[in-house]
Symmetry: C3
Subunit: 362 residues, 3 copies
């Protein structure tokens, strides 16, 4: 429970009215109960305030809070950004109990920092090191010699494989997984795939052969403030490590292949799939379901729209879309022009009739 | 074990022959052993009956069962629909033992209805409530204050996060997950992504900034008769709940982002990805790998073919396909016309030669 | 630890220099420490050797190893293939302890072969049979009457459902799952989807109806030497089994629907999604994010590039790409021609002006 004053101070926002009023949670304006802080940060939500029972609200700049029957109001400079601090203060969290649950299986040679919690039926393996104030959730797994920094949160069923290194403040949502083996197979002679890639299809004399496994001896190295969504997966590298930079976030079911290196402060949205040996610069945003082929380079600051399929290198700063990935404005033009094809065909037929019939007639 | 009579009665189907014949299971006609009910509900399978050893079969209307050497036959009015009742009767299930396994970790403040089973090494947290006749499978997890209705089945490794509310007859296939945090980040000043969305690529003066996390305080509310496939994931909402309506089914690895509301009786096929704050009406069918961008509205009864990428709102009743999503018949025409482009280029060249050369020659 | 001689012998490769030199691991040439074998199998890495401290290296044919300050060198005939044997020798593995962990829950009616290891908090159910020398990892699950061959490795959180049959040398990466129910629903009368498929969109008189579940009574049958990536999922069949042939590999988050039959020696890359009742021949390679619609047939040796969406049958031997799947060379031509559409529109406008204006002027 916080007072309006405390919240405004935490957000560096102005507030008016009864600043000692206490709020216990957040709500959309029409659903707000008494004691909740209503979120109505755009004038379009003004009408909704009357439908709820909030006495305090976070409002758009310049709102006439008294006219909405409120007792207090907070006015953040950039409401969207204020949501970060506000939701952090109010987050009820996963509700795990603190301390080490007696059913957890912790190897005597694992090393737990101060104030680490371990949930029921979690497994922490030999040689693993967990930083202070971390929480290892129920049924989670930490492998042999894995290192996790301080203030980590591993949710239920998350797993960190052997020898993986992770920085501070790591968050793994339920079932996120780090440290599977890379998908790497080879044939005794050059394979049909190696040949088809060179020729766009012609296999020449190559024959199908049995795939032999290349094992993954590398590990995964993850920076500080990284978050992985539910079911996200990161493979270990073949010889060197797969790498994820500081403050990079992977959404649910995102996937990074072996040897891939992702820069800092990237967002990889839901179901993004990045193949092996890809290099991704800093501040890259890949929309939902974006695919990236192996050995691709994606420059700093690239933004890819949802569903983009990246089959070749992308220079820094580009905004791309489509299959195959194309600059977004050009791709939108292609989409538009595709719909003109029936008209194009009619126009050509008319021209042919005019030009060649008359020509024949001469 | 059921008699032919019992099966016919359960399905409301006609039957002929020795109705007291007992069957122990179902089989394709050529693989059927004696004692199994062969499924040959289309005349094209008639020849296969002789390859198997079934004495009873479910056949197409009007089939001459005696000529196939059968002792009994069932004739459902709509064979495809009869498969629902028939497979429900014959399902051997997951084979879990009944009762509470002693290795399960059940918080004393959790509340279990009558006849609930809990498998080995499952975890049920403080304040959770599980309805009567539910089965919580091995290694499954139910979070703090989560509520699950009656007759639920959580398969191995499924997880339900804190405070999630689920209706009756819920099925979570292995590793299905509800209640991870939403993927929601914000920058102190408007981000390059906010700008690029407005302009289709031009970032103006915006600069890369570090992403700050917006926490998910909402939960997930799921109706009755919902099923989630293996590895499916549903995020909690930011302030309000993410919602899934009655009788809606998500296939393996389908994904729903934060705040998204899905109507009743929808089918979301394998690897469908729905971003945050999407609204999907009732009776919508999204084929395999369909992607839906954030804040999209999809009207009632929409059907999207496999791989469709939905980047803008879709009115009710549409059948769509493609990337970007287009009405299916128009999309098929685009695909066809794309293949005509080489001919179009040749035709234009011929016209140019005819028109401009002759023009020059004048 | 191996000597250079031992490694060369194992790979059938030539070696020169001090063959008794021992190496403890592999490294990229610039990162190699003393005691590691540097991998520099292409002349482009020659310069990197000086940056590291390796005394032994695996080099390209004909390399002048002495000039790089090495004491020994190995020269494999096909370096890429040599990586298979080399990484197998050097793999440090998942680091699991051998033996049966006391916290594992093993049903007394399960049958474990010689030398099987079971990790902490794993569950092995009644009637399950695990072949000799297999390793069931921490928190893994094996269902009722499931059969797994010898030398299997189930990593942490992997799960094998009831009655699944798996051959020898199976590998399940973390969280891989076999044996969920198929995604199969039916309506009392023909559904809008059945109708829309026939007509490309026109629903006629069909109305939305509630979906009824078809249960999965079949199981999953998997050959020898199969590997499943993290989060990969395979559904059981409806009546017959879903089948995966020998030596076929599924990457992370790949998905196989109910009744689908995959041949031998196939590679299904990251996030491949295969719907129900698909038949895939031997030696097929599906690139990352490839989607396959239900009831499709894919012939032997087909190679599909990343993101391909397969909506109709593909004859043996084809190399395909795109949405919808098209022969790769033709698809590349389509991509190229799409970019010419603005020019096509301009050319047509110019022709129209020339042809019809002059025509009018006559």
């Amino acid at each position: 429970m916080y007072t309006v004053q405390q919240i405004a101070d935490a957000l560096g926002a102005e507030a008016e009215g009864d600043l000692s009023l206490e709020v216990t949670g957040l709500a959309e304006p029409d659903a707000a109960r008494k004691g909740q802080l209503a979120l109505a940060m755009d004038p379009k939500y003004a009408g909704k305030l009357a439908e709820g029972a909030a006495e305090a609200a976070m409002l758009w700049q310049g709102a006439d809070w008294k006219s909405h029957g409120l007792k207090a109001a907070i006015f953040p400079a950039r409401p969207r950004f204020a949501m970060s601090g506000l939701t952090r203060m109010m987050d009820p969290g996963a509700g795990y109990d603190r301390g080490i649950h007696p059913s957890a299986v912790i190897d005597p040679d694992a090393e737990l920092g101060d104030n680490v919690s371990v949930g029921p039926l979690a497994v922490i393996s030999r040689g693993a090191r967990i930083g202070a104030d971390s929480v290892i959730g129920p049924l989670a797994f930490v492998g042999v010699d894995a290192v996790i920094g301080k203030e980590a949160l591993l949710r239920e069923h998350a797993s960190i494989g052997a020898r993986v290194h992770i920085g501070d403040r790591f968050i793994a949502q339920p079932g996120a997984r780090v440290g599977g083996d890379g998908f790497s197979y080879v044939t005794p002679e050059p394979s049909t795939v190696e040949q088809a890639r060179k020729t766009l299809g012609d296999r020449g004399d190559t024959q199908a052969q049995d795939w032999a496994r290349i094992h993954s001896l590398g590990s995964v190295r993850i920076g500080d403030d990284v978050e992985l969504g539910m079911g996200a997966t990161i493979d270990r590298g073949t010889i060197r490590d797969t790498v994820v930079g500081d403050n990079t976030k992977l959404d649910n079911q995102a996937h990074l292949g072996h040897n891939t290196v992702v820069g800092r402060n990237c967002l990889l949205c839901g179901q993004v799939g990045v193949a092996g040996s890809v290099r991704i610069g800093d501040n890259v945003v890949l929309g939902g379901k974006v695919g990236v082929g192996d050995n691709i380079f994606i420059g700093e600051g690239v933004i890819a729209g949802g569903g983009t399929n990246i089959l070749s290198n992308v220079p820094a700063g580009r905004t791309i879309l489509g299959y195959p990935a194309t600059q977004m404005d050009k791709q939108m033009e292609i989409y538009k022009n595709q719909r003109k094809l029936p008209r194009i065909l009619r126009d050509i037929a008319a021209l042919q009739k005019a030009v060649f019939k008359s020509g024949e007639g001469d």
